[in-house]
Subunit: 418 residues, 2 copies
């Protein structure tokens, strides 16, 4: 198989389809989503069979239990996919909004119109439900998609793609609006991320290694985050009961998520009162603490943190703890060791709260709330295709609006430039 | 000289300075701009002397007259630089705006805060006035800058940089908030565009060759456009006097600008009435026409256009002319041959006007106006650091807001995630 040719053809078809999708009405795109839902519902047996093939091949290839679990399309997961399509269909359409129109001295009226990005490439691992989720968000926002899922899920993804194609057909949209890469050759990824003529942006979903490789080699913009080294800073004079509740939630609500707290910073004035109680909370929750010398003076059974701990994204029941002199040191620590993901201050002081908000250079900055709220659904975006810690374009949780951009529109009545 | 080390140190200093600039008040940044203005005004003799050195070296190196002209810092150009600093100081500060705050079911309030990008690298050719213009826009928007101008202007840029440093000093801002690369070694550019830890975005200003090289090799985002292949489409039933005025202005107001029309598209129904008159207008203006067979049937002395003409950015008194069947063909032509810069329709029909606006995939799309309006000042941005034809982040003319981005801010009262 000639992979470059195969991918170029796919890209060309996606670009052509993207024009039609962008020009289609909200009603047509919603109809496609709902028809795809019905097609998936009617194809439960076919999906189960295709998924059994993938699981069988996975077991033979010696995939571990966690991977096999993510690969499995249980009836409950199919239900979730169907519900997801309904929810996306019900979301407001971001496309076409015209904002900020002002009349200029020349007489022209200038504003901005929200339009789809065009063609979005999604690269992900072996979770077949991502196929439906990503395709539906891209279609809703007026984009064409090329999906490249993990090779272990190929049969499942093909079966899902057939249902999505049925939805597009029913609504009169081109089949190439949603395409699944049907080769497991890794060279396909290399092509997909290096076709600026056909692909406008890449959204990788998966482990850090995958995302690093893609970011390094991509010739088009990549919407991504690498790490979630999130902090909670307990300020001098904070409500310590609030601080305990937020710190415990930010660490223990879920260990494996990117918005989980990985380092706790405590103002020196609060260390005596807070750390022993909090250490007891965390001990009970089974969280291992690794502290700076000042923290260990308050909680002697804490392990000693090394420089590496301040950079660490544990994704596990482990927490680094550091006593800092003041807000200044907390902000400096976060901007140096953090990953620009999500950081929160617990404070009663208004001026310091606002300074933290301004000066912490992260995609989400919070006052008196758990870092676990950094999430498209919690923020009210209705959906989330990923989280970006980059500074250009969408920052933080990326919903439908992050899959669009604004162009300038000018309304004239024959004006020419003097 | 160890160029990588030199640039890394500059980057490190810029990153540290960017934190201070971002945290500074609007008043402090404005004070720095106005103090720099005064320093430049007081240093006119020094500037003239430094510029004479550059011009002398340029003449010896055999620079052509156009380059020497762009290099010259005349008293009038110094006046323009001073006025520019005053204007930028007077612009509203985009930084710190908090928008869209909504209360979520969890009780947290979520909004977005506009913040500086951080460190901006500017790469430009031998126009010393760009040093002041770019530095002032970056500083106003709360960013640190690293400026790498053409080697021919090094002495002038050094003299200007000293005045900008004086402005920063007077306002209490760190000197590294504006740094000029003081080596003519080209390797410095290679380093500057490949330090994602220290530089957040690159804005290249100059010829297409320079911008292509930078875009290809950059490891950070680049705000740029390569071509301006702009179109005017005269729709069926258009006001032909308006069409003549707009077409003539879009082509002849200035030949060398990126928003100048390069191809005129005419609906078949209007070709008989419009083309002969318009050809006379253009003949009088000294513009050479290159047409499709249908255009040449109406204007027999027109040269024949080749496929290359539809892609051409002439930047000269040359215009490609094509008769198209309808709006559909016009949109397809523009999206295929254009450069996603600026395109305009002349029409009386509302539905077709709105379809053109939606479906032409360019950074500026206009109805009944000259393409020459695609400009930061004409759009009311107050300033322009460049024009972007990319789809992510700022699209079209890029003003102060394009040098910032929005992060999420969350206001809580102790909320934790259930």
């Amino acid at each position: 198989m000639d992979i470059p040719h195969y991918m170029q053809e796919m890209g060309r078809a996606a670009r052509a389809a993207s024009r039609q999708v962008a020009a289609s009405s909200t009603a047509v795109r919603n109809a496609a989503l709902l028809a795809a839902r019905d097609a998936l519902d009617a194809a439960r047996d076919t999906l189960a069979q295709a998924n059994q093939e993938d699981l069988q091949r996975g077991r033979e290839a010696g995939l571990d239990a966690a991977l096999l679990d993510r690969l499995a399309l249980t009836p409950a997961r199919i239900d979730t996919m169907l519900a997801g399509l309904e929810q996306v269909a019900a979301l407001p359409d971001p496309v076409g909004e015209i904002s900020g129109v002002r009349t200029r001295p020349s007489g022209i009226r200038v504003g901005q119109m929200r339009v789809p990005l065009g063609v979005i490439g999604i690269i992900y691992e072996s979770r077949p439900n991502v196929t439906v989720e990503a395709a539906s968000l891209c279609l809703k926002s007026g984009n064409a998609t090329i999906l490249r899922g993990g090779s272990e899920a190929l049969a499942s993804n093909r079966a899902i793609a057939a249902c999505l194609a049925e939805g597009l057909r029913a609504a009169g949209l081109p089949r190439a609006a949603v395409q699944v890469v049907e080769t497991t050759d890794r060279a396909a990824v290399g092509e997909l991320i290096a076709m600026p003529a056909y692909v406008d942006v890449i959204v990788p979903r998966g482990g850090k290694g995958l995302i690093e490789r893609i970011s390094r080699d991509a010739r088009v913009p990549v919407i991504k985050h690498l790490d979630g080294v999130c902090h909670v800073y307990v300020d001098a004079g904070a409500d310590l009961q609030m601080a305990r509740a937020i710190a415990l939630n930010a660490k223990t609500h879920r260990y494996g998520t990117c918005n989980t707290m990985e380092t706790l910073l405590v103002a020196a004035t609060e260390a005596d009162a807070l750390l022993p109680e909090l250490a007891a909370d965390f001990r009970e929750a089974g969280v291992e603490l690794r502290g700076c010398p000042q923290s260990r003076r308050r909680v002697p059974d804490m392990l000693a943190a090394t420089e590496d701990d301040w950079f660490a994204e544990y994704l596990a029941p482990v927490l680094a703890v550091k006593v800092v002199e003041d807000l200044e040191e907390a902000i400096t620590h976060i901007n140096h060791y953090g990953s620009q993901h999500t950081d929160s201050i617990v404070t009663r002081d208004h001026a310091r709260a606002m300074r933290f908000l301004r000066e912490v250079d992260s995609s989400s900055v919070m006052i008196n709330a758990s870092t676990r709220f950094a999430d498209g659904f919690e923020y009210g975006l209705g959906a989330e295709i990923g989280i970006s810690t980059d500074k250009l374009h969408a920052r933080g949780p990326v919903g439908l609006e992050g899959l669009t951009s604004c162009k300038y529109v000018v309304f004239g009545e024959g004006q020419v430039r003097r």
